[in-house]
């Protein structure tokens, strides 16, 4: 029996930006993907070959392992290639006429007709020329900065930016939607100013921190962290293995969050439920106990901390007359004061580290810079950098000096042949958090202003630069996106809908694999290949076992008329050539005449790989290479230990070189900022946010919503995979047969609202309404609701106040940024109400949506939106 025809290696990681992960063997049989399975490194390597690292701690050994630890998101990924929601061929919105009525108000409503690649490319080219000649290319917004499949040569996100670079008077003559520090907001806008860690803001360096915690820590706190979930998209299950090992060797795992996340569910020794985004109150009360009971490292504070007295003055109540006692905090955060005291004393007398993934409730909520800074303060009060006292990051190992487990001296990146947008501070940009306001400002001739380039790779000093839009440039009139998930991933998708349906946006082109989310509002849609349909190369720094690279052969032929992102932009380049002038020879300029083999060679030879030991031929022949652990990994300094030992000789990257409890930079640059002041505070309300249960708004919207990074998706990715959707925490099938995004509600609250398992309910606030399927569960504390973010939109009513059937709760997130001088997103821990939905009434009100073609197992389908699928000859 033949069980396969061929096997290829592919990275099935979903970070994009060239950071690959989740290497898999893909078996192909009869032209279709037969199976996706882990790589077994012992096909080519022994532990001796790789100088395999080992932690020998407390009588137990932990090793990196010899197969790839890939997650369900990767193992089920062939269903995305064969999804009924694939964009089958180029499409044009039927009532968008570039030479007549554009009917922008019908974006999301009107259907699509099939067009040829030639026609699609010609239309895009004509629009580009028109926009260029009418407004200049700064009127084009490039959305090329989102997560997705991880590609280098075949088409990462942002290929369109490289084309636009060639047709402006100079490069960067277009407007970029900034690649925000979107899952690190509080660290980026807050903690950086305490400990200087660049650039994402979580503790950096992380070197050998896992080993240190295993050896020295009594407890590890998971403060909203879910290492069973968040690293799945780019890293896999090494964090999961470490959690099991920490249990085995007796490191106590304490979870602090409103919900029992998927790590808490299997690893926690203790759960301390806390109301969403009230962590700052809890943290202040811990500091209060330490200050009043002499439970912190005074010697360390004296030598390592700048401005402790300012913090003490505030905590003890001298500043505002309110001591930040456990009783004060209990009312705000929902943790009883006796437990706050006991926990503070435990922490004050044990070696405790804290761990995070990206996201986690408080880091994406309003004023997220405050709890982030307070966490750095608390670690500082207990001697940050001391053995056993660190902040551990569970994800993105291998970039920016984040090496909590041993790495390799060879850590290649393939950017020499990267075809996407380079994460750089462009000349013209808007924060992604302000895209709707930028567009809608045209009505009242309003400009917007902000601080910083708002790009995750920027250092903290960048946050002191002021910017505005539109300044002396044109307003936006066109959007070219390969990142069509603003609605379901950002801060207030309903207002984004209002923005992109505004007449000033004359042309909206999306290139994407699936008919999902923002794609459904585009005027032209280009069908894009999944990674299975392309050949590429990949470098994985993330998996926590081995640094590795892969030569990725094409697994299957393109599905439908799909092309790679790069090839799609090539079509536009060709179509532009007929306009001559600046467009002359554009295709050749864009491709630089390079073949795939050329690109592989260039990337490989510029990746700092020792070519004598690892020649290109070996890479291509063996399909993947692993690189060895350094000889001296055990000698490398743990985290901040150098600073701990001698802060004068090893200063932090802060102005004073110390842990700045009083931020000298913030005091200097933003002396009047009461929300993000020099010293972190509890902020009740302000800067446009009223998201506390004490707020007036809570009368109407009494619940705080937890909207985590999703368990069964990477943000907006994967929502059509049938095998995930039949897992009961992934979707809830309503009485109408539709698979709804789950809402977790505590039994006490469910009883109040008459809600039962399987009911469909509506989450609402003044920004809009989203539906969900009820799961009554003890996994969420009373007073709090939970719904993962990133569900596919299925819009019943567009715009602010609208209604979504898909459960994309980002649609109703706050639209204001973290605070007025911090342009971060606020997408977690916000107020909503809940009520049971009347499915019959909804079906009667929205018959078109209810009767739309729908796959009972995969959900939304592309064919439902295509009203004319006939192939027209040119």
């Amino acid at each position: 029996m033949k069980i396969k025809d061929k096997t290829v290696v592919q990275n099935l990681g979903f970070c994009a930006f060239g950071g690959a992960s989740n290497f898999a063997h893909v078996d192909v049989l009869d032209g279709r993907i037969a199976r996706i399975r882990p790589l077994h490194y012992d096909d080519h390597y022994t532990p001796e070959d790789l100088n395999a690292w080992e932690f020998n701690v407390r009588g137990s050994t932990f090793k990196p392992g010899f197969k790839s630890l890939i997650p369900p998101l990767s193992l089920a990924y062939k269903r995305r290639a064969y999804s009924p929601n694939r964009v089958p061929y180029p499409l044009k919105r039927v009532d968008w006429d570039p030479n007549g009525e554009r009917n922008t108000q019908n974006r999301g409503i009107s259907g699509y007709e099939r067009i040829s690649w030639d026609e699609a490319a010609a239309i895009i080219a004509a629009e580009l020329v028109r926009i260029h000649d009418t407004y200049g290319n700064r009127a084009i917004l490039v959305q090329g900065e989102g997560h997705g499949e991880t590609k280098i040569i075949s088409g990462p996100h942002g290929c369109q930016s490289r084309l636009l670079d060639l047709i402006g008077p100079e490069t960067d003559e277009y407007t970029v939607q900034a690649r925000q520090p979107d899952s690190w907001e509080g660290w980026y806008w807050g903690a950086k100013h305490v400990w200087g860690s660049e650039s994402h803001g979580q503790q950096n360096p992380q070197t050998n921190v896992v080993w240190d915690i295993a050896k020295n820590s009594d407890a590890l706190l998971f403060w909203g962290a879910d290492p069973e979930t968040t690293p799945m998209g780019w890293g896999g299950f090494q964090p999961s293995r470490i959690c099991f090992w920490l249990t085995e060797i007796g490191v106590r795992q304490i979870h602090i969050a409103p919900d029992v996340n998927y790590t808490n569910a299997v690893h926690a020794d203790r759960w301390i439920p806390v109301l969403p985004n009230t962590d700052a109150a809890f943290q202040l009360a811990i500091a209060y106990v330490w200050m009043t009971e002499d439970l912190y490292d005074k010697d360390y504070v004296a030598t390592h901390v700048e401005g402790f007295d300012w913090f003490e003055y505030y905590v003890l109540g001298h500043e505002d007359g309110v001591p930040k006692t456990p009783e004060w905090a209990a009312e705000k955060c929902g943790i009883p004061s006796y437990r706050i005291k006991a926990f503070a004393r435990y922490w004050g007398t044990h070696l405790v580290s804290i761990s995070h993934c990206n996201g986690g409730g408080y880091i994406r909520s309003c004023y997220s810079h405050e709890p982030a800074r307070l966490e750095a303060y608390l670690l500082g009060m207990q001697g940050l950098g001391k053995p056993g006292v660190s902040q551990l990051k569970w994800i993105e190992w291998g970039i920016q000096g984040i090496y909590p487990v041993p790495t390799s001296e060879i850590n290649p990146i393939f950017y020499a042949s990267y075809k996407g947008w380079m994460m750089h501070p462009g000349k013209y940009f808007i924060p992604k958090t302000m895209t709707p306001q930028a567009i809608l400002g045209i009505d009242n001739d309003e400009s917007i202003s902000w601080y910083g380039h708002v790009i995750c790779s920027m250092n903290k000093e960048d946050q002191f630069l002021g910017f505005e839009y539109p300044g002396d440039g044109p307003r936006l009139h066109m959007i070219w996106s390969d990142t069509p998930c603003w609605e379901t991933c950002w801060n207030g998708g309903t207002i984004y809908q209002d923005a992109v349906r505004h007449p000033s946006i004359e042309f909206y082109v999306v290139q994407h694999q699936w008919m999902e989310n923002d794609t459904l509002m585009a005027d032209i849609i280009l069908p894009i290949c999944t990674i299975f349909e392309l050949q590429d190369i990949a470098a994985d720094p993330y998996n926590g076992q081995w640094i590795m690279v892969a030569y990725e052969e094409q697994a299957i032929e393109p599905v439908g008329e799909a092309k790679g992102d790069f090839a799609a932009v090539c079509e536009v380049a060709r179509a532009l050539e007929k306009y001559g002038g600046i467009y002359e020879g554009l295709y050749e300029k864009y491709t630089r005449g390079l073949t795939f083999d050329d690109d592989v060679r260039i990337a490989y030879e510029h990746a700092e790989i020792p070519l004598d030991e690892y020649p290109l031929e070996k890479f291509i022949d063996q399909k993947y290479l692993l690189f060895p652990t350094p000889e001296n990994w055990e000698d490398l300094t743990v985290g901040f230990n150098d600073f701990y030992r001698d802060p004068e000789a090893n200063p932090l990257k802060t102005p004073t070189g110390k842990l700045e409890f009083y931020s000298t930079n913030l005091a200097h640059y933003f002396p009047d900022d009461k929300i993000r002041g020099p010293v972190a505070h509890w902020i009740e309300e302000g800067d446009g946010h009223q998201e506390r249960i004490s707020s007036d708004r809570a009368q109407d919207y009494p619940y705080l919503l937890v909207s985590n990074h999703p368990r069964w998706r990477v943000h907006a990715q994967h929502d059509d995979i049938q095998w995930l959707r039949e897992i009961k925490t992934c979707k809830v099938r309503g009485a109408d047969g539709y698979q709804y995004e789950p809402i977790w509600i505590h039994p006490d609250d469910a009883a109040l609202h008459g809600l039962e398992d399987g009911d469909v309910a509506e989450l609402f606030n003044e920004r809009g309404r989203v539906l969900g399927g009820i799961i009554v569960t003890e996994r969420i504390m009373p007073g709090v609701l939970y719904q993962d973010h990133g569900a596919r939109t299925d819009i019943l009513e567009f715009g602010v106040g609208g209604l979504d059937r898909g459960g994309a709760n980002n649609l109703i997130c706050p639209t204001k940024t973290s605070s007025k001088n911090a342009a971060g997103e606020v997408t977690n821990g916000f107020l909503v109400g809940i009520r049971k939905a009347d499915l019959k009434e909804l079906a009667a009100r929205y018959p078109e949506a209810w009767n739309r073609d729908y796959d009972p197992h995969a959900g939304l389908v592309a064919r439902a939106r295509i009203v004319d699928n006939t192939r027209k000859e040119a």
């Binding site: 029996m1 882990p38 062939k78 299997v266 995930l724």
Partner: protein, 293 residues
């Protein structure tokens, strides 16, 4: 030589990889004569059962990969024989029980096979009128693979597949599922969940947790007479004792499903008794108030 599965639930992280790769292998894939294509959705030859245990703030989720137990004395084999189709289900030399996909079209047989399995591990394929289930990925084992897909995909080696005798002493600690205990199942489990009860001792008047309180778990149930399901002692028997920790917490884990009383004693406080009925559920007794003598 008989193959067996050993599933260590203490290393199951609930990722569903095993359930997913089973589908990846079999859905819409034709591996006859081992197995006909499985429908794209709805069948779970490897099924992760999931149960939330306890109440706020003591909550855990139990995950249990459940599959055909490839019983030595399989009820499905008996059912096929009873239906006059003994050839429809057979045991391989390696012990894997296989449903012959050539028996498609016989709806009556198929439904009898579905009903014969106490684990619900057999599924009806409506299109083919065929009963289907785990094959142990026999088509792969016969073509160079040493383990089935579910074993290969587990990041934690929580599912193992070997010759039964190779497991050695591990099997002495293992259990089988009660539903198939009488049929000689070849799927064994380590760390099947029992019950827990947890809480925190608090002096509400002082607004402090009580650290170092003695907590006794006393059997009070009918099962306490020492039956198989009981706590192993007579009613009133002391099952276990703990001291509350630095957070005032206590937690008795992996105790039999039974009725208990918690007796909490601390110096200077009146002893407190709290009933804990663990027959059906795991229990958080919450923050329990102690009062001064």
């Amino acid at each position: 030589m008989t193959k067996a599965f050993l599933i260590d639930l203490s290393h199951c992280n609930g990722c569903y990889n095993c359930q997913i790769v089973c589908k990846d292998e079999h859905c819409e894939a034709d591996w006859r004569p081992y197995a006909a294509p499985q429908p794209l959705t709805g069948q779970f030859w490897m099924r992760v059962d999931e149960k939330t245990r306890g109440q706020v703030p003591w909550v855990r989720v139990a995950y249990r990969p459940t599959l055909c137990a490839h019983c030595a004395d399989a009820p499905c084999i008996a059912a096929a024989a009873a239906a006059g189709k003994p050839e429809a289900v057979y045991r391989r030399e390696d012990g894997l029980v296989i449903f012959d996909p050539a028996s498609d079209g016989d709806e009556e047989l198929a439904k009898a096979l579905v009903e014969s399995c106490p684990l619900g591990a057999v599924f009806f394929n409506d299109e083919l009128k065929l009963a289907q289930k785990c094959t142990g990925c026999a088509h792969l084992l016969d073509n160079g693979w040493s383990v089935p897909r579910c074993v290969d995909a587990c990041a934690h080696d929580a599912i193992q597949f070997r010759e039964e005798e190779e497991f050695g002493a591990l099997l002495s600690k293992a259990e089988v599922l009660s539903e198939v205990a009488g049929f000689g199942p070849k799927v064994y489990y380590l760390h099947l969940p029992k019950r827990f009860v947890a809480g925190t001792a608090v002096d509400f008047a002082a607004d402090e947790v009580v650290i170092g309180a003695t907590v006794e778990l006393v059997s009070t149930g009918a099962g306490g007479a020492g039956g198989a399901a009981g706590a192993g002692g007579a009613a009133g028997a002391l099952i276990a004792t703990q001291e509350t920790d630095e957070l005032g917490d206590f937690k008795f884990d992996q105790v039999p499903a039974d009725e208990y009383t918690l007796i909490i004693k601390a110096e200077g406080y009146s002893p407190l008794k709290v009933a804990a009925d663990l027959r059906e559920i795991d229990l958080s007794v919450g923050d329990v108030g102690l009062t001064k003598d």
